[in-house]
């Protein structure tokens, strides 16, 4: 007979399960943690390699040379930006037209659910300006996008200027097989979202925008530039997008290949790669880089303008220029050449990037861990849930067996009725729904009654509802368990993540600063969900928080 259909063997198995349940669970938990942390150890990782055949091994000689002209253009752009008090639309349109692009503008407006600290008003209005470089001989079926944000103040002037210089250089070449769109967007992510929605004729976030007059075909890849100073010492690659989505690993491989060819210092998560993987510092460095990537993916917001492209299956990455006052400097011409090389390689693509991995972790730019390697760690943690459930099921069936044996027993414990089980479940979920809906809806009422701004009102309402959910049970015997439960609640987990994140980026904060950061994280999460459809806040409010509340109720079951 089979292992599970033979009653004797089954009894032996279930006996083993119930006897050794806790030790097995502990072992699984520790094994999962150790497996995951061990992934950063270099011999367990694989070296990155270019998977796409079309972007093969041959490099072209880059000939971009107008880096200095780009820097002077940056000053001009800055002046016009100050004069216009926002985006200098006419100047940008004229600049792109003089470079031979087909220029179009798009205006958009969005009503925020509550005014953010940065915006301080409900309504956000802006204009996107984009120019299309038509491929001289190809049909207009595919496109590449290069985008630079127009930010207030002193930031990103050089990015826009480099964009214009590249446009001028690209216009003189005849080997383009795809159209290239140069996009300058206002208000960062909101502008990008408006442009993408207009381009793909969708409306998923309730944005109002004017329809796009010019279009270029299906977008194969996108690059976002962020350069804020004339002198750059390293280039940082940002991959994490909305909801933790990542572009194809081939895009990161492409960036790394050109960094090596042109001798530019390249970082990921702001950390430079080290060579000493067998020392403790080397390992912790790699582990820190990997954990940063995990945390950034977990918080669900898009860490660069590229993040919103990923939703439309457009592989996109952000390249950020950093000035860290090192000795070795890179000039704008080299950065232009790097971008030229990348775009030229992307030009050779025949299909969308699909040969390499979509789910991966990068302990450094030259090493990766694919999902096949890190998923078993989560699998081990999930096995604990399964084992616990089996254990509970076996125990639920056991009193019946004991009665059958004929030994006189006390009367069977009355099985709980459906209503007694359903009530806490429903109440927990309703509290979750309240946590999801009420903070934004009740902000006016809160502002009337309390002397706080709208943002603070939203955040404080959320915390209030959260704490109110704890007040349901009425048994105070297990105080120690209560404290442990509260310390492991979702809100505290977020607080710990904030502190860990600050530690990992080597900017540790004090408790009060951490608390302020925590509040802003909550408000940002709610805002991201409303503006771009990030799923972290609904997940926490509608699924994780009710589960934790039910656990809390069970703990204090009367």
């Amino acid at each position: 007979m089979g292992l599970l259909s033979d009653p004797n063997r089954r009894k032996a198995l279930t006996g083993l399960l119930t006897r050794l349940n806790t030790p097995i669970c502990i072992v699984c938990y520790l094994a999962g943690i150790v497996w995951f942390m061990g992934l950063a150890f270099e011999p367990f990782t694989l070296r990155t390699y270019m998977s796409e055949n079309a972007m093969g091994s041959t490099m072209v000689e880059e000939r971009f040379s107008s880096g200095e002209r780009a820097l002077s253009l940056a000053k001009e752009f800055d002046a016009h930006k100050r004069k216009a008090g926002g985006m200098p639309v006419e100047w940008l349109v004229k600049a792109m037209q003089s470079r031979g692009l087909e220029v179009f503008t798009q205006s958009f407006s969005r009503k925020l659910p509550f005014p953010d600290e940065n915006k301080e008003r409900y309504m956000v209005r802006g204009t996107n300006v984009y120019g299309i470089l038509r491929a001289p001989r190809a049909p207009r079926t595919e496109a590449l996008v290069i985008t630079a944000p127009c930010s207030p103040g002193n930031t990103n002037n050089q990015a826009v200027a480099l964009l214009l210089a590249l446009a001028q250089y690209f216009r003189n070449q005849i080997y383009w097989a795809k159209d290239i769109i140069f996009l300058v967007n206002e208000h960062d992510l909101i502008g990008t979202q408006a442009w993408l929605e207009g381009y793909h004729h969708t409306n998923i976030t309730g944005m109002e925008y004017s329809p796009l007059q010019g279009r270029a075909g299906s977008i194969q890849a996108a690059l976002s530039l962020e350069l804020s100073s004339d002198v750059i010492t390293s280039l940082d690659l940002v991959l994490e997008g909305l909801n933790g989505q990542l572009p194809n690993l081939d895009l990161a491989n492409l960036f790394y290949a050109f960094c090596q060819k042109l001798g530019v210092l390249c970082t990921i998560q702001g950390k430079l790669q080290r060579n000493d993987w067998d020392t403790a510092e080397g390992y912790t460095h790699a582990a820190q880089t990997m954990m940063l990537m995990v945390l950034k993916q977990a918080c669900g917001r898009s860490w660069g303008d590229h993040g919103l492209f990923l939703r439309y299956h457009i592989e996109a990455a952000s390249v950020r220029g950093i000035n860290s006052f090192r000795h070795y400097k890179t000039d704008a011409t080299t950065i232009g050449r790097l971008l030229e090389g990348m775009v030229r390689k992307l030009n050779n693509l025949l299909e969308r990037l699909h040969q390499s991995y979509f789910f991966y972790l990068l302990p450094s730019l030259s090493r990766f861990v694919s999902i096949g390697y890190y998923m078993p760690a989560f699998g081990l943690l999930a096995v604990i849930l399964l084992l616990r459930a089996l254990d509970l099921w076996v125990h639920l069936g056991a009193p019946a067996l004991a009665a059958v044996d004929g030994v006189t027993e006390a009367e069977q414990p009355s099985s709980p009725g459906v209503l007694t089980v359903l009530t806490p479940v429903v109440i927990s979920h309703l509290t979750g729904v309240a946590l999801y809906l009420l903070p934004v809806h009740l902000q006016e009422m809160a502002v009337e009654h309390f002397p706080v701004s709208e943002t603070e009102a939203v955040v404080l309402t959320a915390i209030a509802i959260y704490t109110a959910g704890l007040a349901l049970p009425h048994n105070t015997q297990r105080a120690l368990y209560a404290v442990v439960m509260v310390l492991l609640s979702p809100a505290f987990t977020i607080l710990y993540c904030v502190f860990i994140y600050q530690e990992l980026i080597e900017a540790p904060v004090s408790v009060s600063e951490g608390w302020m950061l925590f509040l802003s994280v909550i408000s940002q999460g709610i805002l991201d969900h409303a503006l771009y459809g990030s799923l972290v806040y609904p997940l926490l409010a509608l699924f994780i928080y009710p589960c934790w509340l039910m656990f809390w109720n069970i703990l204090f079951w009367n």
């Binding site: 055949n53 041959t58 030009n347």
Partner: protein
């Protein structure tokens, strides 16, 4: 008169008479040699099987062989050129309308007068085999047909991505070495070639000629089984590899050959040794009748017309001499092959009655006899057997 004078005059008259006779003898032997070499016309089938911009080098390979073959005299009407993709007009080509074979763009093998017979998606395994065997629909134009006969020498050049025993066509199908061998056997049986030279430049190319079994085939490959053929130089302006190593050195070798050169196959076997090519080129000559040292390069790569101008009439009385046998080996028996009789005329005319073979009696008849016997014995009993015997 002097006897010496007489003898001299006599000798002189003899000489005068015999010179034209000697000369006509010389011309007759020359004419005899004319028809003793195997072929009268040359064909070339040049195939590039890969698509996409990063396979630029395969198109450049094929075009450089096309260029040499055309330069040495084979006209476009006798060349079937199959290119699976268009590199010269590809959007990514920074020098449109050109295909270069040397870096720094020294040699444009696309030229001004290239004639591609099968282009793009027409290059399929089916079309290739139909071209070789001649089984094309009647509407196929002449430029797409291989109209060779039994006195044609054919050069077949294949390049692309291949493996152990197959060649990949167009990223979607393959031709195996067995199919190729069978196609060549069909060609032999239909008398579509006199001699055939097969050159292949792919990874593990030697596997493609392992299975040949038809006579008069010589084969060359750029690498052995288990080896990869490597590409030669990238061009930094165009951004791709321009040629494969084997064909690059083959092109350099062929650039030295002119229509009157006496270079033979042994020189061709020496092209691109392992020191230059990294892979080991291979060749196969066991199915070939003649000694490779006596086979000229221009027998396959060029179309050299044998022309002798004479004002005399020639009597061709002696029969055609057979081709020079290879010394030592040659166990290959060529039985005279004839077509199967489509219509057995002899039998129809003479109408002899056919002798039927004797068959044992049919089952029905046997059963009937058994039944009759049973009935008889049942009715009359066994003891009446004596009435029968």
């Amino acid at each position: 008169m002097n006897y010496c004078n007489l003898i001299t005059i006599f000798a002189f008259i003899n000489l005068l008479v015999s010179i034209p006779h000697g000369y006509s003898n010389y011309v007759e032997t020359k004419a005899g040699q004319f028809f003793s070499s195997g072929h009268t016309n040359n064909w070339a089938v040049l195939v590039c099987t890969s698509r996409f911009w990063f396979n630029y080098r395969h198109v450049a390979n094929t075009l450089s062989v096309y260029r040499s073959v055309k330069r040495l005299g084979i006209p476009d009407s006798h060349i079937v050129l199959m290119l699976a993709d268009d590199m010269a007009c590809n959007y990514r080509n920074p020098k449109p309308a050109t295909v270069f074979s040397h870096k720094n763009m020294e040699l444009n093998v696309y030229g001004d007068d290239v004639e591609v017979d099968y282009r793009g998606y027409e290059v399929t395994v089916e079309n290739f085999l139909r071209v070789l065997t001649g089984r094309l629909p009647p509407s196929t134009p002449r430029s797409k047909r291989l109209l060779s006969d039994d006195r044609s020498n054919i050069l077949i050049y294949l390049t692309g991505h291949g493996g152990n025993g197959f060649l990949k066509f167009q990223d979607s199908e393959e031709i195996s070495n067995m199919e190729l061998a069978d196609a060549f056997e069909q060609m032999w049986q239909k008398r579509r070639y006199n001699e055939l030279l097969f050159i292949i430049d792919t990874c593990q190319g030697a596997s493609m000629y392992e299975r040949f079994y038809s006579p008069n085939l010589m084969a060359l490959a750029s690498s052995q089984v288990g080896e990869d053929s490597l590409s030669h130089q990238p061009d930094l302006g165009i951004g791709v590899h321009l040629m494969d190593k084997y064909t690059f050195y083959l092109l350099e070798f062929l650039e030295e050959v002119h229509p009157a050169s006496q270079a033979n196959m042994n020189d061709l076997f020496k092209v691109c040794p392992q020191s230059q090519c990294v892979s080991t080129p291979g060749h196969r000559t066991d199915l070939f009748q003649r000694d490779p040292g006596s086979v000229l390069i221009t027998d396959f790569f060029g179309s050299v017309r044998k022309v002798e101008i004479t004002k005399d009439t020639i009597n061709l009385t002696s029969p055609v001499e057979p081709p020079i046998k290879r010394s030592g080996s040659s166990d290959i028996q060529i039985e005279s092959l004839t077509y199967v009789d489509q219509l057995p005329v002899a039998e129809i005319i003479h109408q002899k009655p056919k002798q039927k073979d004797w068959h044992p009696p049919d089952g029905f008849i046997l059963g009937l006899w058994t039944l009759i016997l049973l009935v008889f014995f049942q009715t009359y009993g066994i003891k009446h057997l004596k009435h029968i015997f």
